[in-house]
Amino acid sequence: MQAKHLKKTTSEWVFDVINTLLLTFSLVIVLIPLLHVIAQSLSSPNQVIAGRVFIIPKDISLMAYKEIFRSKLLLSGYGNSILYTVLGTIVNITMTILCAYPLSRKDFLGRKWMMWLFVFTMIFSAPLIPTYLNIRNLRMLDSLWVMLLPGAINVYNMVVARTFFMSTIPDEMIEAAELDGASDLQVVWHLVLPLSKSILAVLTLFYAVSHWNSYFDAFIYLSSEDKLPLQVVLRNILANAKMIEEMADATVEQSQRLALVEVLKYAVIVFGSLPVILLYPFVQKHFVKGVMVGSLKG
């Protein structure tokens, strides 16, 4: 293939041009909405309402962001989301490992039907109402628990973890440890977990992002305003004209307020995606790896 580099044929030339155009097109299509939202959020309300902002902010103003930091609702939503994400991810990781490790052991009697017990829930799930009634019967409505327990194991992630254990930890190693008198719990703690740092990282990221971004469960199970996570607060603010108008500074003139509300909406969107976008460059490598691990079949 090296030699081909030297004398590019016409068809390769054409291909390279088309290929580069295609990649650039994908890049631009993805970036424009993101840059546009950021630019709008940073521009002065007058420029925004006049529709003069594309992807570069005009008359930079942080007015909208100041309003955000005065909003009790948004700040408490942020706090709640952090709480649910941290606690929820801890529960997720613990439960996923507890489930995946025994199921990865070939000498674990009954693992076949236990595996089925979990996999079946991926292809058949109870409808919304019985699920809701179950949460109600467990007295979990509007409690912290409902944000942590019902989704404690994502069966797909569990299968990924199990595949990882089966493919990277040699049986001989576990047998050797057992011959040395290690119990199963000691094997897990001292042998398996230290060897599984990469899968733990991947699971943590996947679970944390899904907690941060989840909306529907909180939307149907939580009712107290002070317990709502950020996504629900964002939805309420963005879909409800009244709420967002109340956020806008009351001292601003009426004519100006309409414009400010518009900028505020963009600022709220940026504010909501900030943590994920800021962390993204550092963690995206692991995500790609995670999808790769997932695509290996178990």
Partner: protein, 315 residues
């Protein structure tokens, strides 16, 4: 598996007993997950029996009386004037989404694979992968903002002399907006699987093709495409298996009174009559159960099909 005749029943029971006792700690680890799956997954499945009952709060799930006839709620749904509309919307949106969604990740993966600059291909991959991590709430908000009357798209239409369109309240636009915003959000993520499949193609195949005088286009057509076809087939037919139970969070977020004609799918209807507006618990459960059972059957069918066609299956 057959047991050797020398081992009688009693000693087989002993083998099992010792097998369990030797690894009792593994069973201890498994205890919490089993309790969890029963409490949060199987108890609601048991509770789905209210689809065949006239559920009353005061009587509970087990205590409510059976419906007469027992399939009353199912019959009501199949004969209701909503049935056809909901089925058309659900299947229409799913199929549209699957069809439009097949090619972009494959094209992106191949383009990335043949990109001569490593840095550029890494950059494009990283950026296109990013929208996957933006929450549905925010993706829908971005869409709403950009397409609103004062948004950039309508400003551009007006600047070129056109008339502003209220995209989000037009039923005719709903499915297209849904599907193409999915493409925007998921193409980079979905491409990763194909990139992995491309990387797994043996370089010898490419070398042989080059020796035979194949140009880049021919190599894509005759080496790369066949190499990723099994993955594409599996993913697509698996998606077809979930046609009735497609994710509905985003539909719900994009739904409004004006676009309801196109945006009302089975799942959003189940939510609306069960929790949001009516409290028709049994009726809503019956529709949901119909959906789950059809999905189960279709997934089983499609899984077998996938195994036959591409030697690849979910279970």
């Amino acid at each position: 598996m057959t047991t050797p005749p020398a081992i009688n029943k009693k000693s087989r029971a002993r083998v099992i007993y010792h097998g369990i006792m030797r690894h009792w700690q593994l069973y201890l680890l498994m205890l919490l997950p089993i309790v969890w799956v029963i409490t949060f997954k199987y108890v609601p499945i048991w509770g789905s029996q209210i689809a065949f009952k006239d559920y009353k709060f005061a009587h509970g799930i087990a205590g409510s009386a059976w419906a007469t006839p027992i399939y009353k709620h199912f019959l009501k749904f199949f004969t209701s004037n909503q049935f056809q509309r909901l089925m058309t919307n659900t299947i229409g949106l799913s199929l549209y989404n699957i069809l439009v969604g097949i090619f972009p990740p494959i094209i992106l993966a191949i383009a990335l694979n043949y990109c001569r600059s490593k840095v550029y291909s890494k950059t494009v991959q990283m950026v296109t992968y990013m929208p996957y991590f933006i929450s549905t709430v925010l993706v829908v908000s971005i869409l709403t903002q950009m397409l609103s009357l004062s948004g950039i798209v309508n400003k551009a239409i007006e600047a070129t002399g056109g008339k502003a369109i209220q995209f989000l309240s037009k039923p005719g636009w709903f499915k297209t907006l849904y599907v193409f915003s999915e493409v925007w959000q998921k193409t980079g993520y979905n491409a990763v699987v194909y990139i992995a499949a491309l990387a797994a193609i043996s370089p010898e195949l490419h070398e042989a093709a080059i020796v035979d005088g194949a140009n880049i286009w021919q190599r894509i057509l005759h080496v790369d495409i066949p190499g990723i076809l099994p993955t594409a087939i599996t993913l697509t037919i698996m998606a077809c298996g979930r046609i009735l139970t497609m994710g509905y969070e985003k539909v719900l977020l994009m739904q409004n009174l004006q676009n309801m004609r196109a945006s009302d799918i089975i799942s959003t209807y189940v939510y609306r009559i069960g929790l949001a507006e009516g409290m028709q618990f049994s009726y809503s459960t019956a529709i949901g159960l119909f959906q789950s059972v059809v999905s189960l059957l279709m997934l089983t069918l499609v899984n077998g099909l996938s195994r036959k066609l591409s030697d690849n299956s979910l279970w």
